[in-house]
Amino acid sequence: MSEVGLYPVLVVSTILFTTGAIGVLSRKNALIVMMSIELMLNAVNLTFVGFSRHAGNIDGQIFAVFVMAVAAAEAAVGLALIILIFRHRTTVDLNHFNVLRG
């Protein structure tokens, strides 16, 4: 990787993060919004690993592993919530999730 350097890694990470942000902000399907959040978390992981390689320090990789643990917890709880809402409303369209009352 010494031929490539850190800069292209950061560019790829930026493009992935922005793609995920567009998905979160403009899609209506709750499941695809959650997948876009996973995409954003992965872009951040790529930055952590890139800087870890750049600095020759292992700490960034440990942070990447912690991000994965948090992402797993978030996916489990988020999908449980989507199942719960789907039972009440029979849709996963975010535009229909507009009341707090169940």
């Binding site: 990787m1 010494s2 031929e3 490539v4 350097g5 800069y7 292209p8 890694v9 790829v12 930026t14 493009i15 992935l16 993060f17 922005t18 793609t19 995920g20 942000a21 567009i22 998905g23 979160v24 902000l25 403009s26 899609r27 209506k28 399907n29 499941l31 695809i32 997948m35 876009s36 996973e38 995409l39 992965n42 992981n45 790529l46 690993v49 870890s52 390689r53 750049h54 292992i58 700490d59 990789q61 440990i62 990447a64 592993v65 912690f66 994965m68 643990a69 992402a71 797993a72 917890a73 978030e74 996916a75 489990a76 709880v77 999908l79 449980a80 199942i83 719960l84 996963v92 369209d93």
Partner: protein, 167 residues
Amino acid sequence: MLQAVMFYVFAVLTIISGITVVTRRNPISAAVALVVSFFFLAAMYVMLGAHFVAITQVLVYAGAIMVLFIFVIMLLNLREEGPSPLEEFGVRAVGGLSVAGLVGTGIVVAIESVAYEPMGPIDANFGTIEAVGEAMFGGPYLLPFEIASALLTVAMVGAVVLAKREI
């Protein structure tokens, strides 16, 4: 030279599958594109010397989290309905694109403002399970590791309580 070519191939494929995730109508297509994106990201982690993170990416993300996603999509029996993402792109999409463009511009300005030296050589065992394990259990990361395990337990109990019909 070969390494650089492989890196750019993986980078382009990661971005293409990432864009596919956001533009698909069918959630299953988006989920499969996301799995492809995770595999190419794992390849990029290997090229950056993070072997343990790459294996974890395949096992945890492509294996566990995406199976959960696909399981939920099939459980809910979602069909393609409504307008395609391109038609659905209305006011929300303009807002989304402008906010995301603003965030992206901020990141670009930040990464352009730093001078990058080329990456130096690394040890043969950089990023192996042994190195990550020593750093995680032999340093200041032992307490965060235990907190992460508590978080996973809480999330597991919470998910079961939320999704079960009667407890």
